[in-house]
Symmetry: C2
Subunit: 237 residues, 2 copies
């Protein structure tokens, strides 16, 4: 018995051949995640939002995983484009600006940085753009007197540090819901130096300050290394 008079529960007409596109699907997925969350993205929900049969999506993306990869690429592009570092900074100020911005950008938008963290898929465009930024930092370090391999390792290890800092900050934020029975303070008499350690979440404290400390300390280490290298280079008297 097909309903004919009132348009209630209209069963959605078949769409024309060229009426969907990979881009439209990707945009729909992006909007859906933006408005709701990553968990809210399911193939049926996305299809319904687009006014399309569920299976139609599979003509453009072989699987949900495929779609998520494309989505991560798109999000990554946005991050890369938003990311800037001022010109004409000394090498240490450049490092400071670079990694503070990096961290801030990812912490600002939890949803998308989660997706990126799990996939890390660059578009070739955004990869090239990111590479240019990194190359600029490497140039500055090399100009300051660091050998190229050292500059590269410095960048890499500072990335590790920043990524870890982001992950820990996000983890600490997610753990707002404290586990029921675990909130009591043990107050272990063996802990001698810092009673801080006896508290329930001792090592998720002062994320920002600890990140700043670690970054400054790394810069201090690099400065010492630079002095050491130039001392070696000018002959040991």
């Amino acid at each position: 018995v097909p309903a004919s008079t009132t348009g209630q529960e209209s069963p959605r007409k078949r769409r024309a051949r060229g009426s969907i596109s990979a881009e439209e699907i990707l945009q729909g997925a992006y909007d859906l995640v933006s408005e709701a969350s990553l968990d809210a993205l399911s193939m049926p929900r996305l299809a319904q939002r687009l006014g399309v049969g569920v299976t139609s999506i599979y003509w453009y993306y072989r699987s949900k995983d495929d779609l998520l990869d494309a989505l991560a690429g798109r999000a990554m592009s946005e991050f890369v484009e938003e990311f800037t570092v001022p010109d004409d900074l000394s090498w240490d100020d450049h490092i400071r600006a670079f990694f503070h911005n990096y961290r801030r950008l990812f912490l600002e938008d939890a949803t998308w940085s989660d997706l990126i963290a799990l996939r890390a898929s660059y578009t070739s465009d955004s990869r090239r753009l990111a590479a240019r930024r990194i190359d600029r930092m490497l140039q500055i370090l090399v100009s300051a007197g660091f050998p190229a391999e050292v500059a590269m390792s410095a960048y890499q290890s500072l990335s590790m540090f920043t990524e870890g800092s982001i992950a820990m900050a996000r983890g600490a934020a997610a753990r707002g819901r404290a586990g029921s029975a675990e909130t009591g303070t043990p107050s272990d008499p063996e802990l001698q130096v810092l009673p801080l350690l006896a508290r329930p979440h001792p090592w998720s404290w002062g994320e920002d300050e600890d990140f700043a400390f670690g970054l400054e300390n790394a810069i201090r280490g690099l400065r010492a290394l630079l002095a050491q290298l130039s001392a070696d280079g000018s002959g040991a008297a």
Copy 2:
């Protein structure tokens, strides 16, 4: 028509009242994940393995999330117990041993460290044990002349660094499957310093070396800070 003669597809008798326990379920889940993977852990599969009705699990764990928390706690306990640092090391050797061991332990067992990374749930026992290890390191740093707050921040930032290094190493490993169209080398003429950067996966290279570099650099930074602090303390001539 109930099958009576041959025991084919025996429908599993109802189990007695005290025959299951939270511990048995947890152990079953642990074994299942160990033998297969984290993805293989579903409530039906676990129930079947235990010879229990699916819903029986829900009497002991309110949800799968609950069960995963308990599982993460158990895995964390094992990590904490396996983790040791030799006695009588200088402060920098202690740091080196501590974080190299930390990293190695997590990289050795991808399955469990994934689970822990997403949950980070300590048992109160393992928290106390971990706190004792950390406290020992802080004591050593304080003995070496670092103020307690500096020692704490040093520990925290080195943890961030190590966590990030673990995450990046695991991400690089997971990305063995290279994305189809993205493998070509762009060879951007703007890249001046390092042609390394034009390669497909430039910043997932030499994980171990970069970690070692970053750790040494942090230690160098701490050494410089220590010298600076003691110089300030003994009066500026």
